[in-house]
Amino acid sequence: MNASLARWQRQFMQGILTRGLPGMVRSGGAASAQRRFDIYVNAYRTRLIDALRANYPVLHRALGDDAFESLAQAYIAAHPSSCTNIRWFGDQLDTFAGKHSDLVSHPALVDLIRLEWALRGAFDAPDRALLDAAALAGVAPTAWPDLILELHPCVRLVALDWQVETLWHAAQTEGQGEPEAPLPGFHHTLVWRRGLNSYFRSLEASEAALIKGLAAAENFAQICERAVSYAADSATELAVSFLQRWLEDGLLAGSGPVTRINEQ
């Protein structure tokens, strides 16, 4: 009877994945083994579809029940879960939907998937203290060029080809009929959480470029250099005005720059 456990688990898994009936399975009751095993076959798909619906509620709404389920079933067949916690199931749905345009009614929905995944990630990203504007006020003028501001770990910058934010807003207002198809338009959207609430806003190219600098841990001098392309004569002023906005929005994490300056 050696290695029976391994055969059982591999047969059982193959049976679930391929909708087959493992040879080692017996019913033990009145219903047939196939009918009994189908409970596992169906529960597996139902649970994963539910997980995708929880991670992509606006996509679900935009596609409708049937189209969402077709997409979900195809994704589940192509990408069996390897995550321990079902919370992270669906992390490759954007790439998958991008390759299977027959499964999404509009190409903009691939962007919607990316926006929703970013929002879902911001929702339970790590908690960190915010950078206080008062702490920055104490930074000596000579220290500013070397200052490295740290993005809060909840912040996500998403590059989008379509203006899918309209779909998201349409889903928030209880829907009358079909939402209008999003317009094309490349831009970046910033996603973050402040306290318990998640936010997003679309960015001008200049702000997106500067935030990329923050994400790459560039110092303030480098951030200002990035601003030159957008405001040759007033690059520093532009960077400072964005910095004020980032502080107001709660995009910067607390402990980083000031302690780093103090250590020098």
Binding site: A6, S81, C154
Partner: protein, 279 residues
């Protein structure tokens, strides 16, 4: 020490617990729901924990799998336990996947000497890592394995002795499996080692005649209530709770149902101590 009657904490009821603080002995959380970096779930967890004792119940340990133990998962579980300080940590007597594919379901084990041996070593290692004994729960099953060498209750009894672990007895699951496999649920309960059963789950199921499915979307059925009374009579007072995972009703409905559970248990225990006095 956690005793008395509890409920599973569900997001639908967060504000009820925070604003109304209904009387309840303890809450059970699904560990994985809080094994995340931060944000709202952990915020509410901390606030509710301030008012209620908790136990942790996991669905991803996959203790019966042939894959190596997932120490990354166990480290996160331990970190959550440091935060929650639970009365105990439980998971299921099952496997959830193999070859690094996770089926996210509580899948049945063959009841064989080989499986006993495999599980014993893994439970001992998990308990050593966590620095505490764990509770393992009997799951609902719909099929059995041709290689079975013993009954489920013999398997559980033997495993808990060898691995020195504790048990979470899901009375609804006993009922569901008994109906599906045609065994006597009372025989199962009779075989449970009383000193090891620390917690009881109660839940609703769907009865399709030739097949019973564990759905947790209905109130507890009478047959399960009766079996619960039988279990309490045999095992004495065991911390008991209702699991509701789907079609979740207002909290007051669950509290009323839990009152019935409490009254039922108290009646049985009063009868039991009366019988003991007059004997």
């Amino acid at each position: 020490m956690i005793q008395g009657f509890g409920l599973g904490l569900r997001t639908d009821h967060y504000t009820d617990f925070i604003e109304r603080k209904p009387r309840l002995d303890w809450l059970e959380i699904i560990s994985e729901n809080y094994m995340i970096p931060g944000g709202k779930p952990l915020h509410y967890l901390d606030r509710i924990r301030a008012d209620y004792p908790m136990v942790m119940h996991g669905v991803s340990m996959s203790i019966g799998s042939l894959d190596p133990l997932n120490f990354d998962y166990l480290r996160q579980l331990k970190a959550l336990a440091d935060r929650v300080e639970p009365g105990w940590i439980s998971d299921h007597l099952c496997w959830t996947g193999i070859d690094h594919t996770n089926l996210h379901d509580l899948l049945p084990l063959p009841y064989t000497e080989e499986a006993l041996h495999h599980l014993t070593g893994r439970i001992l290692r998990v308990q050593e890592f966590l620095g505490r004994r764990i509770l393992l729960e009997n799951v609902s099953t719909y099929v059995a394995c041709n290689d079975d060498e013993m009954s489920e209750w013999q398997f559980i009894r033997e495993l808990s002795a060898r691995a020195d672990c504790e048990l979470l007895l899901d009375v609804n699951n006993v009922y569901v499996s008994a109906r599906n496999h045609g065994f006597d649920a009372h025989e199962f309960i009779d075989a449970m080692p009383a000193g090891r059963v620390r917690q009881i789950h109660l839940a609703g199921h769907q009865d399709h005649g030739d097949c019973v499915i564990d759905t947790h979307d209905h109130p507890i059925r009478d047959e399960v209530f009766e079996l619960y009374a039988y279990a309490i009579e045999r095992l004495g007072p065991v911390a008991s709770m209702i699991e509701r995972d789907d079609r979740i009703p207002p909290l007051d409905e669950l509290l009323a149902e839990l009152d019935l559970v409490r009254k039922g248990a108290e009646q049985v225990l009063a009868r039991r101590s009366h019988a003991a006095v007059s004997a």
